[in-house]
């Protein structure tokens, strides 16, 4: 099975990962891998432009802090707008999946 994530879903996954608690970039990556049970691998560098884009849209915010191994790192958390967006996109996603199911499950009449 192809273990790259579907195009366009990275933003939603990041929002979900960040919604579970403040994380630095590497933490977000681990969380996504963990959420998918290790099935999805993200091209690691690509995570960052996505993070900055979300931050630019005001869905997540960041602050510099200290990591578990005492290094300076940037931590991301969800903004209220991000929470709303996550709810909305998750809902959209579920509907899409339902509709796709329906469409793909159709039998010739």
């Amino acid at each position: 099975m192809n273990n790259a994530i579907m195009p366009g879903t990275l933003d939603l996954l990041i929002l979900k990962a960040v919604s579970l608690g403040q994380q630095h970039g590497y933490g977000v990556l681990l969380r996504i891998e963990q959420l998918s049970g290790g099935a999805w691998a993200i091209e690691q560098g690509a995570l960052y432009p996505a993070l900055f884009r979300l931050e630019g849209r005001g869905l997540i915010k960041s602050e510099w802090g200290v990591s578990e191994n005492n290094r300076r790192a940037k931590f991301y958390s969800l903004t209220p707008a991000g929470k709303k967006q996550l709810r909305l996109e998750a809902e959209n996603w579920r509907r899409t999946v339902e509709l796709m199911d329906l469409a793909l499950g159709a039998e010739p009449a």
Binding site: Y26, Q44, N69
Partner: protein
């Protein structure tokens, strides 16, 4: 920390954390780090993508420009400083010229439909030796108004002064016909303007106040209209107040012989009755006309001139009307220089652009290896371009800003000092479109020369062509500047008929109480005696007019019994010793002396001798001064060299000097020559005159040198301005050459090494390199010189203010540019030819 570094730090933290994880899973530290890096992908790419995602592009560009400036200052600081300086001079010089031209040509006549406004003057061949044209006579006005169908409005105007209420000082006033208001578009803010018919001897006593006079005297009283004001003892009705920005002609802005006050307080109707006897002989009114829309200037001129034939029975048909655009008339003597300077500014700006382009091309060529490496490492073309542009445009931006500052400062300085030969510059400021245009020209050429080599993937452009153009342009511009400068110096130092150095003009008035002519004569003689007794005075004399400050009395000059009227000449009164004191050479005969007292004697100028006594000795012959009521005759006792009386560019007029005892010496100019190396005797002379009871007219005390400087001011200004342009052009051209040659040489380092290893001396190598690099420059210099000679011939035919060009000056200009270019090229190869051959061969 810069934003890019923040992104990088975040990515590095990621790699480190990932490596630590991998290490925990049993990888060796090196393996872990390598795998973490591989998984991350290209750091520079993600930094760049991240930056774009963050919308940091502009912030980063600003930062990189800042960094670029720092880098420039560290690397090659002198070169970059010079580049910025020349760009600043180029952009600033062009902006300054266009701003001044815009103010003086476009902004000076703030009346609507400027292109239809003209000043009318008449040309009379009889007076042509004194004035190319004259103001009009008031007697023409009524006829012109009736018959000039091409004219929409006519306005006759002159200035006067009126004394408000009793003992106060007189205030300046303008006298105008009603047409002045529709013609200029000036409408009162309160009340009304003059109605048609409110002119001529029967005009009612109505007056308009200018805004500042209304504010100053009536504190802006809004109910002023309808009240009366006493002027010169009569009662005048105030009918309106003019707007604050109303602009009236000033000084000689309506042409020679008309003097308008610098500021106007009152405007009253024109009361001149043109129909009275002798009125048509008085040429002392300014006339402005507004042509009908679509009417041809020549048509209007013909109509005006046709009507003139009904006047002056004795002059016709030798009287002509001339129309000068008001814009041109208002710009005074600055008009032609401004047009020329505008052209020179454009030429200079083009040379600066071309040179900056060649600098950028050479810079890009020098970086080709660096660019190739960056490109191989995955840098996008866009990012390479941004970097390259960032550097070049930093220079251009710094130059544009510095140029704007320089132009702004220069304009405000000019405004403060407003030289006499320039029309009033108040309100002049930086003309932004001019600056924007000059700066964008530099930016556009610079950017194109940066981008083209990159986009074509071939970082070498046609720099020879640019060097050729820059050299040719610089030579042509330098030649033009050289001509103007030589012309200025020639005119300044030419013999104007007197020796200006160490000569001071003073002016004393005989107090009004001394009515008796004999007493006045004695007073004048005592004063002169006392002044001559001052130890530092070499000579002193008096005259009713001095050189270069106009005419005293204009009357025909003719021989008794000659046919016709003779030619108009300038009759002056001088004391004995005048010619010696002024430094005017007597070419024949003798000066006035005591024995001449009571006799009618005269000294004539060379031109009178030439024209009235061709091929004869005039000494002992008679000359006539026909006045309205009598004819005076005098015997010629001497011939003096010609003297310029008004403009230095005009020919000396016919001059006849009479001894001072034939006139009342109420107000005379005293010429005092100081002994070489002695202190200035001015104060002592003033004390000597005041001790005799004379009044000093301080405004007429000045060194005669100053008069010459003023008279040649336009030329000096013009010449120095163009010299500045030429220097800027040559400097940028040399910088372009320097960069190009430096790049050529650095590319040939290995070849130079081989040559030197094979025994070539540094001198021979330098000569070879110079010859190759300078070929386009020498070709350009030769072409520029040829072009300059061609253009010079064209301009001399077109413009009156330029005397015949000089091939020698063009040659010197070409030589100077060639020497400067050789020096610039030599500077850039000097290091290369002193290099150790082995190191040079390794360099590639």
């Amino acid at each position: 920390m810069t934003p890019s570094n923040e992104i990088e730090e975040e990515l590095l933290f990621h790699i480190e954390a990932r490596a630590a994880d991998l290490q925990r899973r049993g990888r060796s530290p090196q393996q872990a780090l390598r795998q973490a890096r591989l998984e991350m992908g290209s750091i520079p790419r993600y930094v760049e993508e991240g930056r774009e995602a963050k919308g940091l592009y502009w912030r980063d560009t600003a930062v990189s420009i800042y960094e670029a400036i720092l880098r420039f200052l560290r690397r090659d600081p002198l070169f970059h400083l010079l580049t910025v300086l020349t760009l600043a001079l180029g952009i600033g010089g062009a902006t300054l010229t266009f701003s001044v031209a815009h103010r003086l040509l476009a902004g000076a006549v703030p009346y609507p439909d400027t292109s239809r406004l003209f000043s009318v003057r008449v040309h009379i061949p009889l007076f042509a030796s004194l004035y190319p044209d004259l103001p009009v006579s008031a007697s023409y006005y009524a006829a012109w108004r009736r018959t000039c169908t091409a004219c929409e409005e006519l306005a006759l105007l002159d200035s006067t002064s009126l004394t408000p209420g009793g003992q106060e000082a007189p205030v300046p006033a303008l006298r105008v016909t009603p047409g002045f208001f529709p013609l200029t578009g000036i409408t009162p803010v309160l009340g009304r303007a003059f109605r048609p018919g409110e002119e001529g001897p029967s005009a009612p006593r109505v007056v308009l106040l200018t805004h500042h006079f209304w504010q100053q005297r009536f504190h802006g009283d809004p109910s002023i209209v309808g009240r009366t004001i006493p002027l010169d003892g009569a009662s005048w009705e105030i009918i309106g107040v003019l707007p604050a920005g109303a602009v009236f002609p000033r000084g000689e802005q309506s042409g020679e012989l008309m003097h308008f006050p610098p500021q106007v307080d009152l405007v009253i109707p024109q009361t001149e009755d043109g129909s009275r006897a002798g009125a048509e002989e008085e040429f002392r009114w300014a006339l402005f006309v507004k042509l009908r829309s679509g009417a041809a200037v020549e048509e209007a001129r013909r109509q005006l001139e046709g009507e003139l034939q009904h006047f002056h029975t004795e002059l016709r048909p030798q009287i002509h009307a001339g129309l000068t655009p008001l814009v041109r008339q208002f710009a005074l003597e600055a008009y032609e220089p401004l047009l020329l300077l505008g052209g020179a500014a454009i030429a200079m700006l083009l040379i600066v652009c071309v040179s900056f382009g060649s600098i950028q091309l050479a810079r890009m060529a020098a970086r080709r290896r660096d660019l190739a490496i960056r490109s191989a490492l995955g840098a996008s073309r866009g990012s390479l371009l941004r970097h390259a542009l960032g550097e070049g445009m930093t220079l251009a931006a710094a130059g544009a800003l510095a140029g704007a500052t320089m132009a702004w400062g220069a304009i405000h300085l000019l405004r403060e000092t407003n030289p006499v030969f320039l029309p009033p510059l108040d309100g002049a400021t930086l003309y932004l479109p001019a600056w924007a245009l000059s700066a964008s020209a530099v930016f556009a050429v610079g950017a194109a020369c940066t981008a083209i080599p990159l986009l074509r993937y071939r970082p070498v452009g046609n720099r020879r062509g640019l060097l050729f153009c820059a050299a040719a342009g610089s030579v042509a511009l330098s030649a033009a500047a050289g001509w103007l400068f030589v012309n200025y110096v020639r005119v300044r130092d030419a013999d104007h008929g007197f020796e200006a150095d160490r000569l001071t003009s003073l002016c004393f008035r005989i107090p009004p109480g001394t009515k008796d002519a004999a007493a006045q004569q004695q007073m004048l003689e005592r004063v002169l005696r006392n002044i001559r007794a001052i130890p530092s005075v070499e000579a002193a004399a008096a005259a009713n007019r001095l050189p270069l400050i106009g005419e005293a009395r204009i009357d025909p000059v003719r021989r008794p019994g000659a046919q016709g009227q003779g030619t108009m000449g300038n009759w002056r009164h001088v004391t004995a010793g005048y010619f010696g004191a002024a430094g005017t050479t007597l070419v024949a005969g003798r000066d006035f002396s005591e024995q001449d007292r009571g006799k009618y004697v005269a000294i004539i100028s060379e031109r009178v001798a030439r024209e009235q006594f061709p091929g004869e000795n005039p000494i002992g012959k008679n000359i006539e001064q026909p006045e309205a009521d009598a004819v005076h005759m005098a015997t010629v006792i001497g011939v003096a060299e010609d003297v310029k009386t008004r403009r230095i560019s005009w020919d000396a007029p016919l001059l006849v000097y009479l001894p001072f005892w034939q006139r009342d010496p109420e107000k005379l100019f005293y010429l005092v020559r100081t002994k070489s190396g002695h202190p200035d005797p001015t104060e002592a002379a003033i004390r000597a005159a005041e001790a005799e009871g004379m009044e000093t007219a301080r405004e007429h005390i000045f060194p005669m040198r100053q008069l010459v400087e003023q008279a040649t001011g336009v030329r000096r200004w013009h010449a120095l301005w163009t010299v500045g342009f030429a220097l800027t052009a040559v400097l940028t051209a040399c910088l372009g050459l320097f960069t190009t040659v430096r790049d050529n040489v650095s590319r040939r380092t290995a070849e130079i090494g081989v040559r030197m290893a094979l025994g070539a001396t540094p001198f021979h190598t330098a000569r070879l390199l110079l010859r190759e690099s300078l070929r386009p420059v020498w070709l350009g210099a030769a072409t520029g010189m040829a072009a300059a000679l061609l253009l010079g011939r064209l301009f001399t035919q077109q413009l009156s203010q330029i005397t015949p060009y000089d091939a020698a000056v063009a040659g010197v200009a070409a030589l100077a540019v060639a020497i400067a270019a050789t020096a610039a090229a030599y500077l850039s190869i000097r290091k290369a030819v002193q290099i150790d051959p082995v190191a040079a061969i390794r360099a590639e």
